[in-house]
Symmetry: D2
Subunit: 307 residues, 4 copies
């Protein structure tokens, strides 16, 4: 990645001045890639705005000018707590990302971003595939059908990685052979795996980015995209520290009680013994999974106790 350089136009020290809002936290991440998985990366390629841009936008609503910085935190927290989302759209981030195709496929489902991706029709594909770390190889989760959890044996892991390496080697040879007879690139790639690396510029506003992070930092997100979400979260946390703190406090760390849960708590004594409450909930809810979700919240809030 040695070719990643600041844009040409600002090469001269003299020319680096701007009148725009600056986030010093964002500046320090510009063009500094964070390695993700074996061959991927994410780096901040551009941004607009800062914590202050959010409060500035909120304040236009009530027709008042810029306030003191120490009031910004309270306002940002208020906005986030009450889901006043539009001021967070005033901050924008652009990332350059490189990731396996199957990660890109999950990522692109977030429709509110702008994307320019590497074209395997126009250019030869990259000779890079994702080979998981042995520690990332797990068995299918029996409960959560979209996940992995149990350990595989070292022998099984070795087998998987050897099969994948051989498979990738075959695909490289196939692609090379197809290129040699000048098969159209858009066809030469059809046999190539979804673990092949692609890259793109991805531009998104802070409100939509926080939604992306909420979903992709979640423990149910696939590990491989979570790695990218964590890298991006690290950058965003520095770029807009007040917004990120509010996001953690009011989104990431929050728990919510559904209507049925609220009604159950209103009509039963809480806190209560775990052994008692579970069967009660199960009877009322008639749903094992929802019962367990409810129990987990009660435990988290220390509203159940073991006798």
């Amino acid at each position: 990645m040695s070719e990643i350089l600041p844009p040409r136009i600002i090469a001269e020290e003299e020319e680096r001045k701007t009148l725009r809002a600056i986030s010093f936290g964002a500046e320090k991440w510009l063009y500094r890639p964070i390695k993700c998985l074996d061959n991927g990366f994410v780096y901040l390629a551009d941004y607009a705005g800062s914590d202050e841009s959010v409060t500035q936008a909120a304040r236009v609503s009530y027709g008042k000018g810029t306030k003191k910085i120490n009031e910004d935190r309270g306002l940002i927290r208020y906005l986030k707590r009450h889901q006043h989302t539009t001021p967070f759209e005033m901050v924008e981030f652009k990332f350059h990302c490189k990731m396996p195709i199957f990660v890109a496929r999950q990522w692109i489902r977030h429709r509110t971003a702008s994307v320019n991706e590497y074209s395997a029709r126009y250019s030869e594909i990259k000779d890079e595939f994702y080979l998981p770390e042995p520690s990332a190889l797990k068995k299918q989760d029996k409960m959560n059908k979209q996940g992995r959890n149990e350990e595989l044996t070292d022998k099984q892991k070795h087998f998987i990685l050897e099969v994948l390496k051989r498979e990738y080697e075959n695909q490289r040879k196939m692609y090379k052979a197809f290129n040699e007879i000048e098969l159209a690139r858009e066809l030469a790639r059809v046999g190539i795996a979804v673990s092949n690396y692609t890259e793109w510029y991805w531009k998104i506003d802070l409100h939509n980015l926080m939604h992306f992070l909420k979903l992709r930092l979640d423990k149910h997100a696939q590990y491989e995209i979570r790695v990218y979400a964590e890298a991006i979260a690290r950058i965003v946390k520095n770029a807009v520290p007040l917004c990120y703190e509010a996001f953690e406090d009011y989104v990431l760390d929050s728990i919510y009680f559904s209507g049925p849960e609220v009604r159950f708590m209103q009509s039963h004594q809480i806190p209560v013994a775990e052994a008692v409450i579970r069967s009660l909930i199960l009877v009322e809810f008639g749903n094992q999974r929802e019962t367990e979700e409810f129990m987990e919240k009660l435990r988290k809030l220390k509203l159940v106790f073991t006798i």
Copy 2:
């Protein structure tokens, strides 16, 4: 595809009545798959609205009630010609589609649709890969770097197909072996090719669908997605015949002259001999590609002649 049936709820003849606008052209395509490529299909799974819904929406703008049918055509053509796009958003289509992953990747770039896709995290992947027809195998286009054009020899085609078949067989074995040791499905699929088939429900309004068709019916679109666009166009043409006719007349069949081309024509005698005009254009435009594009338009309009 024997499992494709009308929704349960309308099984009874008695219950099939609706007060909604009906498009008889759309009705006849409901649940009737059109085969696409070797293992794919598209069928219409739901819709809302008809040609009449477009004119009804346009007429709310000027506060008049429903007019006679024979005025609808003129109004729809007027709307399309003048790019009054919002009335076309009042019609909605939902398709069930099955296609190779690399086609799905181009398709999903149209962000203004709703999508629910098969999950390779949740379920085992389908044992189906795209194997091109021999006639679809072509060499890389030298001019258009995103295309194919020249013929390959039969021997080369045979070689390509044999390599792909063997490769797909390897991938099937790999996936089976990974499943046997219960590797999480979200990992078992990483070595599988982008030609593997996926499927989804895809719901989009007519305005955005026409934009999709404009781009994906284009001769520069990859052949494999064009096959799907053509199938969808066939359905849409029956479902909203007046809108589709206007789309053909004012979008698909139109040609446009750029500002520089307009200015050139204003200052030179047209029509003119091909031999003379090309060099003149090239000098003024200083761009070989743009010159050829201009020449093609002039030829199409019979505004150049050969001496």
Copy 3:
């Protein structure tokens, strides 16, 4: 509103059959306006899909065919509880609405809908203004700067309504005078109030509609738009009863604890006396408003008691 009729094309009994999914609850609301405020209305003008369309879309993700109806409820509740939002996009509603301009201005901020509005450039404005019911006239709320709460005297209410009536009469005369000298309509309306009625077709998918309802059914939404949200909610509740029930249980009736609140509960004994807890929270949170919000949740869940 006598001109509201089913679309022409389905006038014949014979021709009312469709193979599409039908919602009987939606059918009964088609073309049946609900009166809103003094001169407005909302009616369902078209729709696509039903509860079943949501589960059908969800099931494509795990590659299984249609299940029994009695499993649909559980699946819809699961999707809603876990914020799997895309299947809800598969249902679409189109409403014809008439409302004051200031209501339309709040409404249009929901960007994910399709809109065709009456044009005051093209046609003469409607001679209808919103005159509030006396009971809707309230004083400015001192706490919530976006609201109203305290009662006005009958004399004050009378004064307000008389002033508004006279003002509207003036505006009618002005508009008439401007039209008589043939001032362009796009100018003749500039002095007309934001309480003047406009109308539009509004088409939106169920996911985005539930977001609209969440915000506009809220007690902090302006009363005048809440009236429309309530009318729409009534229709949606009949059209997709399982989805609406899940929306009520997991969105409308839910309460959530923020990260700071969760941490507070983890480190203090709950339930606890109201007198004790408020001052503790205030000290830790340092924010009067957030303290009151927290207290309200604890009270709602009966986790505080008065000594």
Copy 4:
């Protein structure tokens, strides 16, 4: 507008440095309002990217690094000519705008922007109304029902302005009286005209901004919004000169021939005498308006002549 200042955070000379792409043309417009109509303005409040950001994004598609500046122009023109729109989404602009409500209502129909608007529920409305220049007062256009064209007499203009002034004075008094009895602000404003000024932050990417400009610079757009579009175009032209030039050449200055027009030209001798061609077109097209539109294009390209 003396309160418009650069954001607090960059007050110190030392702190104005950024590693981001800089557009010198944009920098000179930051916080420099352009007056629009009698009481409105537009100024650039933030931006991200430059011409170079567009080519950088395009180049990721074919996997090549940054090229020389003198190749950027050709690439940008190619992208625009072939409607490769996504690279233009990589540039972002944020404007602070103040305009009459009826202008805001047209503006907000562009859904792909982020907006934070002044709230008449939260704050007292501004005591400013739009009073047209006498030269802007025209009669209703008979042909184009959405426009104005013919002149009014001076006496008529004087009458209109006097009526509007008196009306605005009434509305001011009404609002004052309502505030004095503390009527909720969200109600106090219902009698206020759509010419009352509001303001907002408006953030949009370059692709969608060019679409806005195309529609709102058009001669059919209402004069009052065109004034704002022209101010924005002036800023954008300096901020991304290569993109704006391509936008002018390939969008603003282009003319297009529809399918029926193309087919007509292919089957008739062009150029041709005006007197002959009009009746021929009319017969074939059967539509007076479309005939005139076609004639205008032929005249513009000097493909008709008068005998």
